[in-house]
Amino acid sequence: MILVYINSSNGLSKSSFEAVTYGKRLGEVVVITNGNTTSDTLSALGEYGASKVLVERNVDGEDAQQLTKLVAWAAQEVGANTVIFSHDLTGKAVAPRLSVRWKAGLVSGAIALPDADGSVRVNVFSGKAIGKVQVQTSNKIISLLPNSIQPEKSGASCAVNEISANVGSGAVKVVSTKKPEGEIPLPEAELVVSAGRGLKGPENWGIIEDLAKSINAATACSRPVADIGWRPHHEHVGQTGVAIRPNLYIAVGISGAIQHLAGVNGSKVIVVINTDPEAPFFKAADYGIVGDAFEVVPKLTAAIQKFKATQL
């Protein structure tokens, strides 16, 4: 039996469908989750292959210790031999704890289904290589890197059972959360428009935002741009920032330093716009334009808008 943990505190995200789809490829899936998302909403996980959803309403999901107990309880309850997490903030906190508690090897950040020999691929050296991890225990834990598998519908909505597990009280208390509305979260974005020092100053980001808006993309930036405060820190991608693997990454005025590439080289398609034909980024790109961002980007936005209009 495959147990999939899902953080549904903000409803169901694409990565939760990915995790269920992944689990379904390995066997029968039961989902364990917590919080207040309605059973009606949760039952949609059945469409991706879950046979049942268990939900603990009394756990808010901010305390990794409580969640670990919850998942361990569910694994025992359903007789799971594999637990799947999404490799997000919650998965990164809970999966390692569960590994110790359950004495099960953890594959952290899986990018593919297991091979015939059971080994699972993960990115290592910040995406510069791939490692194959062999789990040496009979129980296994896999945390799945977002955007590694296409969510796939395979069934109808499923039963949702409210359960109560004895997980004690949480030691981590949330004091406040500031959450901007309407933005596309970067790690989940399928399309990303990103810009670097080539943009010269924060006042020039309008053209980047317009381009992003034209294709409904999230925005990102290189590290120096976040460091000097032109853009918020959470947009910084790369080795020391967020690692992303969208379907499309458009890099404007970014040189393509190895530490930047480390966070974006998992992108399916890379477009580079740079004045310097020698910019290292072109070596990692699928499509390149040598040109001035201030001319090329508005032209590209206009061309996309024109194209979209023909698609209506």
Binding site: A64, L89, P96, A129, K179
Partner: protein, 246 residues
């Protein structure tokens, strides 16, 4: 406050990545090791700042071989008071975490800090494993850390926003960008580091739960298609028809 900072080494970020022994082993030939940036820039520096303002002691711990003492001395040069090296090969996160937890058990730390992840194996595992082994609360990927009475106030970047949390001590925290600024060791620090205590501890018996069986290089990109800035419509059409991304 007694703070333990977990320090790992990682290859210098510009290192060429290659493998030997039939792609089963990382090729260390010519590789320069540095202190893992998250451990150094964020965890260690924040620990030192807390010591400077509230007093206390900063101990660093590494699971590694004698050769790793160069990296340990660098962390001492930045300002840690003392170092512990657990003399073992940190080949699996669980193995590494249990070694650190065993050491910590006998030394009553108020706070254990790790980096967000190592930049070689990128597992983000060791901190959570230490916390579970010691039955302590764990806040992962914190971007701000302040002492607040008998506990801590922390910030974490959640999807598109910031979450503020409180936790009591002792606790384990993994540290990310935002928490502190990189410090460059000065000559005095480097000299002092030479004589700071570095204790070597024998490992306890722990099983490995996982193993890297082999490595491969990612598929290299086919050559880039260059498009003239005067022909932007072609790019749009390639993205739609060929790449199928818009």
């Amino acid at each position: 406050m007694k703070i333990l900072v977990c320090i790992s080494k990682s290859p210098d970020t510009t290192s060429k990545i290659a493998f030997t022994e039939d792609n089963t082993k990382f090729d260390e030939n010519g590789v320069q090791y540095i202190v893992n940036p998250y451990d150094e820039w964020y965890a260690l520096v924040r620990a030192l700042e807390m010591k400077e303002s509230n007093g206390g002691q900063v101990t660093i711990v590494t699971v590694g071989a004698v050769a790793d003492e160069a990296v340990i001395r660098k962390a001492l040069a930045i300002g840690a008071d003392e170092a512990v090296r657990i003399d073992a090969d940190p080949k699996d996160a669980h193995y590494t975490a249990i070694q650190i937890a065993e050491y910590a058990k006998n030394n009553a730390f108020d706070l254990i800090l790790t980096g967000k992840e190592t930049i070689n194996y990128n597992g983000s595992q060791v901190g959570g494993m230490i916390a579970e082994a010691l039955d302590l609360p764990y806040v992962s990927i914190a971007t701000k850390l302040d002492v607040n009475g008998n506990g801590l106030t922390l910030e974490r970047e959640i999807v598109g926003g910031i979450q503020v949390v409180e936790v009591s001590l002792p606790a384990v925290i993994s540290c990310a960008k935002g928490m502190a600024e990189q410090r460059i060791p000065n000559m005095r620090g480097i000299m002092a580091a030479r004589t700071k205590p570095l204790q070597v501890v024998s490992p306890v018996a722990v099983e490995d739960l996982t193993k890297f069986s082999s490595y491969e290089m990612p598929n290299s990109k086919s050559a880039v298609k260059m498009i003239s800035p005067d022909n932007i419509d072609e790019l749009v059409s390639l993205l739609h028809n060929e790449a199928k991304v818009i």
